[in-house]
Amino acid sequence: MSVFFKRQRHVAALVFLALFSPITITACSNNGGTDKKGKPDNVQFVVDTGPGGGSDVFARQVVKIALASKLIDGNWPVLNRPQGGGLAAMNFLKQKSPQPNFIAAFTSKWIISGLDTPNAEATVKNLTLIAQVAVEPQMVAVPANSPYKTMADFIAAAKAKPGQLVQVGGAYSSVDNLAALKIQQNTHTAWKYLSFADGGPRITALLRGDAQMMIGAQNDFSEEVAAGQLRIIAVMGNQHAAKFPNVPTFAEQGISEVGLPEALQWRAIAGPANMPPAAVAYYRDVFSKFTQTADWKKYMDEEGLISEYVAGPELDKRVNDFSASMAPMMNLLKSNNK
């Protein structure tokens, strides 16, 4: 028995230490009710990446800003469901229907994953769309010593050497590859797409000269550009980037973006299907105020994102339009694969 009590003391010591550490702030009760105003208790924030990934950092930043501007009163812990590019997160939310205390940082990638997976258990249809909060403009970067000064140069070179130039990026169904395939189709060119799972090797591939070009968001490159390692040669969409006002858009360089949705990459908030309307109203209220805060605007500027609050039927329309324009691009992807 003495042995047993030693173990007990050991456990007790562990629990004791843990109790007195401030991590108890993450402690929580497990019922997902709402108060009279539809404000859910114990909100948890589901993301589709692991700790440190894009959506994870985004969600934590949102919680941080919301806490600082007193829009929410307790921490919203982040839950990571990284499998299948949003598929696992959507499955998780489907299981949680109609609980009001789960929301997700949802991106355009989730729609693509759903389209790419005919047998997906849950898709965007199983979500309650709450609000879109930001649009992430995509831009094209090349190494600083690259001969391509504009995207038009790159396209011309790709025409001269079809199938030889290399674009670097992530998984094959990622937004940057889809966009590149559409542009290849529009300009009757072809180049290769080199996949890396992590962001680090993508940048080194550019610096080493293994790859000639990368399409990504501003914060994928901004520091490397500032350090003189990379250069931005074009911006997608019809707006110039605030940080790189002299970089022309695709259209200005005479490159057709026909068939591409207006915003390729955006960030939105969603909840499980059939979420109580009171809770939806509560979240919309929080996020509409949230996107007006100075901290949020500052964060948007730093990251090169454009703050854009859209909710209700307008958001449904956007998501439907996006899905509709993605479907032919998925076919393009499949035909390219063969």
Partner: protein, 174 residues
Amino acid sequence: MRRADVVFGVIVTVLGAGALVMALYMPFLSATTPGPGFFPRLVASGLVILGLMQIRQGFRPLAPEVRPVGPVSQLEKTVHGKASPREPGKAFLARRPLIVLAGYIVSVPLFGVLGFVVTTTILMAFLLLYVEKRRNLGAYVCIVAIPVATWLLFVELLGMELPNGMLHLGMLGI
């Protein structure tokens, strides 16, 4: 002939063959790179070959095995090339691990129904009371204390998630 080795060889061969068939449906070369089927086909073919070699070795246990690659630890060297010393008439699988394994596997579907704490308590009770036959106070305390302590530690303190039950009592995830 060592029956276990032969059976293992057969299993590996069948597994490799199955994987090979599945891999044949994946393109070997895609447009610009070795395709998704490239590596699985190599690995699956390797498994088939190794499985057949294993079967052959199982049939002639007393002949020295294929020469070892690299150094071999002393413990292994003592039995190298010969069948390990075995107790005659001993069953290949012992009873106790199988009972424990069975209880362990049965508990998995229960996690989603009864929740973590109840299922773990049942599992602990099964192991301590039935398998190990420890019917003293310490055992009874552990059966209840360990699941509850684990739950409090992981869920309440660290904010992690463990399986919840279907009863939704709101306490300990039951």
